[in-house]
């Protein structure tokens, strides 16, 4: 058993222990441990079965079937099949990674076996499904699903095909793992851009169609559903070339930029920013009605996210009742403007300051009771507040003032002079202005005295207090600022819809916002943008995705916390901290290193 070479991880570990001069005893234990845990087939089978379980689950909850409506490459592969393929490839890669790159056979065997396991699990599902009527329990275990899983070839040859496909894909993953790093990067990026082009066809097609000369791309690239084969191949080659040349020359370009004098660098940056602003300004005109609607939704979530980012990201106060302030902003506007209730009948602009002020007041009011709470207690208390507000709004008790379950309608649109912010293409500018304002405020706040106080509170409350930070003021300001942003968003939301209902303000909204902040990176302003586009924009574009939205959010939260707690676009401070920690780690290791060695020498 011990003659088998060790996988990468263990060899490096052993190297570590040897340099730190650990006793032979420990080395022997480690060897035992390593060889025992990693028998040849075990990696492949175990990881493959996990992947198979995920594949079966995705099939049973209906994701595969729902996604197969959309073709990635027309009549070649659908999104549902792509989903399964991605699982097999990932699993194969994970299994292959368990072996060292110096043992190609072992790598390939691991990949092959894990792929076979995934295929086998799905085949088992099909076989069981053909014997027992699974549909009595699992509503999505339909004949259509079995047909999809067997590639429409009937049960016998279909299952054989499924197994072959699994094994082959696993093998490919193994090969991928064995190929050089540059090839891996090129392959991965260009393949995923082909998939993205297929997934986002509804976004890309109308965009290209709007501009005369670009319409040719459409014809080349897209069929009625999905990419054309030649389109996919050419896109793949194009992306591969771009990535290849960027990998070869990218550093030179970057160095060239750095070599420029500072004034020129600044000028370049400003031009870039101006270009971005111009693009943002003409975006709704270019994109058309539906996509502008999506943009406004993303924009509203960006506003909300920036607000919660201050509370959660900067000050570290996990607020699960954040939707309450959104509701308060929306209802204040409804109360002040709607002729249906007929209390005040103000215009949107004169009601807006009140909405924000009421938001701030409630932010402070709900903030005071939770000042002394920390962490999870705070989260639950705020969740309670959010629910209380929703229940009150929904109740018959407050119905004469807030409209009860029917909500409030006929909220007037915002208008400047003769220009009315009616459709999504106009509301967009309102939201964009709001985003710029709020983004600017949070950006300035981050490096201000207050922002630093918040971050100190986030890192350690007691130490922050000892350093002279007024905890009460800092926390209340965080709640108030967050509430103000949220109320602004709520106000725009109310005027956008023209009506407010209690059901628009349930706890899911809070979770969505929390999710986009965490996925983007807590405390990071561009992170909020990335999170909103990924978690709000994408699902709006993919209609078939709607049912699985919260499922994916939940999985994303867990996965982010397990594998990438800093988020997709981490805040600079966080990044620096992580790097520092790493360097500190290596330092202590090198400090400890010679110590036992000396002992050995003695």
């Amino acid at each position: 058993m011990s003659t088998r070479p060790l996988p990468d991880y263990w060899t490096t570990r052993l190297q570590d222990y040897k340099t730190t001069g650990l006793h032979d005893y420990a080395t022997a234990r480690l060897l035992d441990h390593a060889t025992m845990k990693h028998s040849i087939w075990q990696d492949g089978i175990k990881i493959g079965l996990i992947g198979g379980g995920i594949g079966v689950l995705l099939s049973l909850i209906g994701m595969v079937e729902a996604f197969s409506q959309r073709h990635i490459i027309s009549n070649v592969i659908s999104m549902g099949h792509t989903l399964l393929l991605v699982i097999v490839l990932l699993v194969g890669y994970m299994a292959a990674k368990r072996a060292s790159q110096t043992q190609p056979l072992r790598v390939l065997a691991n990949g092959l076996i894990s792929g076979l396991m995934v295929g086998g699990s799905l085949a088992l599902l099909v076989m069981v499904g053909n014997l027992v009527r699974l549909r009595a329990i699992f509503i999505n275990a339909s004949p259509v699903l079995y047909k999809l899983l067997t590639f429409d070839y009937g049960i016998g040859s279909g299952i054989f095909l499924l197994l072959c496909a699994g094994a082959f894909s696993g093998l490919l993953s193994g090969l991928f793992y064995l190929s050089p790093a540059l090839a891996r990067r090129v392959l991965l990026t260009s393949l995923s851009s082909v998939v993205m082009a297929g997934v986002l066809q509804d976004l890309l097609r109308p965009t290209f169609a709007l501009w005369g000369p670009l319409a040719i791309i459409n014809e080349w690239l897209f069929a009625a559903n999905g990419l054309t084969i030649e389109g996919a191949v050419s896109l793949f080659i194009l992306m591969a070339l771009i990535i290849y040349f960027w990998a070869k020359r990218g550093s030179a370009v970057k160095a060239g930029f750095r070599g420029l004098p500072p004034t020129k660098q600044r000028a370049l940056r400003i031009t870039g920013l101006l270009l971005l602003i111009i693009v943002l300004l003409i975006l709704p005109q270019v994109l058309g009605l539906f996509l502008s609607e999506v943009l406004t939704i993303v924009g509203l979530y960006v506003l909300l996210g920036l607000g919660l980012n201050i509370v959660v990201g900067y000050a570290g106060l996990l607020d699960l009742g954040y939707v309450a302030f959104f509701a308060i902003g929306a209802y204040t506007i409804a109360l002040l403007t709607s002729p249906e209730l007929g209390f005040f009948g103000l215009s949107f602009w004169s009601a807006l300051p009140f909405a924000i002020i009421v938001g701030v007041i409630f932010g402070v009011l709900l903030g005071i009771p939770v000042l002394k709470m920390r962490g999870d207690y705070l989260a639950i208390a705020t969740l309670g507040f959010g629910e209380i507000i929703r229940i009150l709004v929904l109740s018959d008790f407050l119905r004469p003032w807030l409209g009860g379950a029917q909500g409030v309608g006929k909220i007037p649109k915002a208008a400047i002079g003769s220009m009315e912010f009616a459709g999504p293409q106009q509301i967009y500018y309102l939201i964009l202005a709001g985003c710029f304002l709020v983004g600017f405020i949070s950006w300035r706040l981050r490096d201000s005295r207050l922002g630093r106080a918040w971050m100190a509170v986030r890192e350690d409350e007691d130490v922050a207090q000892a350093m002279g930070i007024n905890l009460v003021a800092a926390k209340l300001l965080a709640f108030a600022t967050g509430a103000a942003f949220s109320a602004l968003s709520g106000a725009i939301f109310a005027s956008k819809l023209g009506s407010v209902y209690p059901h628009s303000f349930n706890v899911m909204i809070s979770i969505n916002i929390l999710c986009l902040i965490i996925v983007g990176g807590m405390g990071s302003i561009p992170g909020v943008l990335v999170g909103a586009i990924a978690l709000v924009g994408l699902p709006e574009l993919l209609r078939e995705f709607a049912d699985y939205r919260l499922l994916v959010y939940g999985a994303a939260l867990v996965a982010m916390m397990l594998f990438r707690p800093a988020g997709l676009w981490p805040e600079a401070v966080h990044r620096r901290e992580l790097q520092e920690e790493e360097s500190v780690g290596t330092e202590t290791e090198s400090l400890l290193g010679p110590e036992p060695g000396k002992q050995e020498g003695v």
């Binding site: 962490g375 207690y377 109740s395 499922l551």
Partner: protein, 353 residues
């Protein structure tokens, strides 16, 4: 004395005491007004109490899971409400099968036993998987990390079950022997409510004995007292944590069937509100404290069923029953503000809160 009081009270304290005092005044005013108006008879109050007791004992069973996990891991297992949902939702299919085949009518006891068994094992399975996949890798992470993971896991599970079983309400079959009512002198108790109360009481007694009297129970208590020391004493911490999740899952699965028998329906979202309320119950009794969770659950159930009529009706609020969830959440917030250690949570004090 006044001087000292003035020094010790901060403005926020004063605001908080004002809020608390205002609440108390409202409650007293509302209750006296209701009692003077005399719209409800003793029978009404008795019915409210029995219903509250039944609901409260279900909360108490769920709260056991929260409180034990909190005691041992110092984290709120936000996904426990899905552990609670998964069991009865899966067992629904067993119940429906028994119902359609007529077995439920012939052998109601055996069928109920089977339903409980399925529900409890599914809930336990989900709880164990949750611990293994989501929580174990994060055991030493900062405090917010496992909480966020738990929230994510909760929604993931909810929508997984929605995908698996569909998004509609499923009507639980009616068990004939649990229909009707028993009369004691002048008062009547609905049979299923009595059964729920008795079954929950038995389960709680069993769990409490397990925790207090057996070796494993002792080990679990030791681990929640001090992880390092109990590891040094030769206790397998991982195993004890899994055992905790198993016990919590079993209690939640049983509570789920009782809940389904009481409200006659299951749904993928059914765990959310009882979950939060059970958490409230756990906090109410002092989180980490098992008898506290039971007491808190029953107390919460009672307040929730008696409260709307007693406190709110007298204040002239229309349809007070709509606000029963608001009462529960207000109570949660008030407890968290004024007594975060809960009713029985004296020992834990500042260290854990």
């Amino acid at each position: 004395m006044w001087q000292r009081l003035k020094e010790r009270m901060t403005p926020t304290d004063i605001v908080m005491w004002l809020i608390g005092g205002g609440m108390l005044a409202l409650i007293i005013w509302g209750s006296t007004a209701t009692l003077i108006a005399g719209r409800y008879t003793a029978h009404h109050w008795f019915d409210f109490m029995v219903f509250g007791l039944a609901q409260g004992s279900i909360y108490a069973l769920i709260a056991m899971g929260y409180t034990m996990v909190y005691g041992i891991l110092r984290m709120i297992n936000f996904a426990h409400s899905e552990v609670f949902m998964s069991g009865p939702y899966t067992a629904y299919f067993v119940a429906a099968f028994f119902n359609s085949s007529g077995f439920l009518e012939q052998q109601p006891i055996i069928s109920l036993f089977a339903i409980f068994l399925v529900s409890m094992s599914v809930s336990t399975l989900i709880a164990v998987l949750l611990e293994r996949i989501a929580y174990r890798p994060l055991r030493n992470a900062p405090r917010l990390v496992p909480l966020i993971t738990a929230i994510g896991a909760s929604f993931f599970l909810q929508y997984t079950f929605r995908g698996l079983y569909g998004s509609g309400f499923q009507a639980y079959p009616v068990v004939k022997i649990l229909e009707g009512e028993w009369a004691f002198w002048d008062f009547r108790i609905l049979k299923f409510q009595a059964v729920v109360i008795v079954a929950a009481a038995l389960l709680m007694a069993a769990l409490y004995t397990f925790i207090q009297r057996t070796r494993v129970g002792k080990a679990i208590r030791a681990v929640s007292e001090d992880k390092e020391a109990s590891a040094l004493m030769g206790i397998d911490i991982d195993r004890m944590i899994v055992t905790t999740f198993v016990i919590g899952g079993m209690a939640a699965g049983a509570a789920g069937v009782l809940y389904a028998l009481m409200f006659k329906q299951v749904h993928f979202f059914m765990g959310f509100i009882p979950g939060i309320k059970a958490f409230t119950a756990a906090v109410l009794g002092g989180i980490g404290n098992i008898p506290g969770a039971m007491l808190g659950g029953i107390f919460l159930g009672l307040v929730e069923s008696v409260g709307p009529s007693l406190f709110l009706d007298g204040l002239g609020i229309v349809a007070p029953y709509q606000l029963k969830d608001a009462i529960a959440f207000t109570m949660l917030v008030l407890v968290l503000i004024f007594r975060p250690t809960g009713i029985l949570g004296e020992k834990l004090a500042v260290k854990k809160a």
